[in-house]
Amino acid sequence: MELVLCNHSSYPRIGDDTEHQVLRRTIAQHDKGEKTEDAVRAAQDRMTELALAEQEEAGLDLVTDGQIRWLDPISHLAAKLSGVRVNGLLRFFDTNFYFRQPVVQGKLERTKPLLVEEFKFAKEKSTRSVKAVLTGPYTLARYSVEEKGGAGGFDKMLEGYTAALAAEVAALAAAGATVIQVEEPALLKYPDDFPRLEQSLTALAMSKDSAQLALVLYFGDPAPIYDHLQTLPVDLLGFDFTYNPGLVDRIASNGTARTLVLGLVDGRNTRLEDPAATARQLEKLARGADLSRAYLSPSCGLEFLPRDRARQKLKHLAVIRNTLLGSPA
């Protein structure tokens, strides 16, 4: 069994030390007209470098840029498209975190790259492989609102987001991304929309070139649609195991045709998992599913934890792997 240790997506953009407050401080000063856009960018760069360094120090094999520049997982992408303005705050799933809701006023168009520069920066600064992460078209569409029929209905909106993100997937692959993670947590709230997601994801898969495409679901239980998910044109499937204690058994029983990203470490709570218990879950999974190569990951982005605990959770991934496979020589 090869267990690749990876971050999920986001990482805290703040900490309790002065050094980790630079971005918050700079944005606040920028809002008062006391700092320039360049100063904000420099603070984002600095916090991204710190996030990368902490992931590397934790022993991860696959890191992310921590989404340090994202104000939230929805508007960061949607607001960069033409035809969109952002509106009031909405709760992000069942968290105490809020996003700005996109209002689609007209045809959605990608007029510039969305994440490529951010990815390139992280790739240049990291000694490890960097995963590109984007919120998927279905989730973006589901959490957008249409204004006066400007988008032509939900399916047109989904089509617009799909076209934009397919182009982004191609651009990320061209920029050297070897793993591109598409996050579609909204599917677990609307599982009947699986055919829509399938169509959207197929378009993204056609744009990925030689990169591996990962579909990652969280904040819900994927068990009811597990068999459908196995048919999707993706290389990796990622799950949040915190919503259904029976998910391990379900996967062990049904097996997998895709490489799994195993979100067995709770990204929403500070309590550290018992490494032996998590190792037993992995053993059970391996008895029924192909884990010759799998990814061990937090269950969701780590921005929901304080920085010190997020760091601990990442280090814990290695503890779990060592418990299962023994310490590296």
């Binding site: 805290p12 953009r13 703040i14 900490g15 309790d16 918050r24 944005i27 606040a28 809002d31 104000l71 939230d72 009031g88 705050l89 909405l90 709760r91 799933f93 069942d94 968290t95 105490n96 975190f97 809020y98 996003f99 700005r100 709570n269 500070t270 309590r271 921005e303 929901f304 934890l305 304080p306 920085r307 010190d308 605990r309």
Partner: protein
């Protein structure tokens, strides 16, 4: 029916009573005092003196504006969960996590059995009460929200943690009532996050309020109302204080499908926008609600606490609330 309950408690309010959700922005002198206290440049007594001055400032402002049911403005609180966590046994302060945009808060960690040792808000409520003859709300964060917005290390699951908190929060409610509080607001903004857990939240609210002589309000905001309505009406409170303007009054559509049966505090100004709503906009929102709700049931306030606005913006938004309510009061028949 709830108006009768208020009268039985000795509180007589006009049509469309105006209030606010709880927090107001901290004046600059208090922000400085809090920063000085955090860096140990001043002592607790000096900080509390500044908080009392700020409380008096907001009591006077609300009186000048003509607000009907006042709040103390929460000048002594930071985050609505962290404040209570800091005063209950069983919690540790966690590090900073993001709330939205560039806003962060210290998310508490439940590391032991929770326990109420002594009154938390009562002295502040008494201080504010002594500054005004108008009704003053007591405001607490509810057990479901304290549970949901904390990390849980001690309890085996969310349900157990929530019910344990409910028993302790009831003690604070009892302490407020003992000192004379008659309108008590139990904030539960997290209540819609996991609709399948609504029965837990209802059970917890029963623990907090059952058998106690007060008019209870619960404040809910930025949630998926459609997922918990009409089941949420089973919460044992008299009044739901709901964020409505940020969500384009969408919840009113739900009332068309299932009759709304309690008093309601309508959030009619957006607390996350710098733009101060014109009075006619606020009045339109109220008239829209009046198409579906009996006038006797309606209270008027902002969507949520105003603490993220400037002092000037908060006053201006409250002015819009009061002016619109008074205008509507003047033209609405009392037949």
């Amino acid at each position: 029916m709830s108006r009768a309950k208020l009268q039985s408690l000795g509180i007589d309010l006009p049509l469309f009573p105006t209030t606010s959700v709880g927090s107001f922005p901290k004046p600059d002198f208090l922000l400085k005092a809090r920063a000085d206290f955090a860096s140990r440049r001043i002592r607790l007594g000096a900080l509390e003196k500044a908080a009392r001055q700020a409380t008096e400032f907001w009591i006077r402002e609300q009186e000048k504006l003509g607000v009907d049911v006042l709040v103390d403005g929460e000048m002594y609180r930071g985050d609505m969960v962290a404040y209570f966590a800091a005063h209950l046994e069983g919690f540790e302060e966690g590090g900073l996590v993001r709330s939205y945009g560039n806003r962060y808060y210290h998310k508490p960690i439940i590391t032991g059995e929770v326990h109420w040792e002594e009154p938390i808000t009562v002295e502040w409520w008494k201080y504010a009460r002594g500054l005004t003859s108008k009704p003053l709300k007591g405001i607490l964060t509810g057990p479901y929200t304290v549970m949901d917005w904390s990390f849980i290390e001690y309890y085996p699951d969310r349900l157990t943690a929530c019910l344990a908190l409910a028993k302790e929060i009831r003690k604070e409610v009892e302490a407020l009532i003992q000192e004379g509080a008659k309108i008590i607001q139990i904030d539960e903004p997290a209540i819609s996050v996991r609709p399948e857990e609504l029965p837990v939240a209802i059970k917890a609210m029963h623990i907090v309020t059952d058998g106690l002589p007060a008019y209870f309000i619960t404040h809910i905001c930025y949630g998926a109302f459609e997922a918990i309505y009409p089941a949420m009406l089973d919460l044992p409170v008299d009044n739901f204080d709901l964020e409505m303007s940020n969500s384009g009054l969408d919840i009113l559509e739900l009332f068309k499908k299932a009759r709304y049966t309690k008093d309601i505090s309508l959030g009619v100004v957006d607390v996350h926008s710098h733009v101060v709503e014109e009075e006619r906009v606020v009045e339109q929102r109220l008239r829209h609600a009046l198409e579906l709700l009996p006038k006797e049931a309606i209270w008027v306030d902002p969507d949520c606490g105003l603490k993220t606005r400037t002092v000037e913006e908060a006053i201006a938004k409250m002015q819009s609330v009061v002016t619109a309510a008074k205008a509507l009061r003047a033209v609405t028949s009392d037949k």
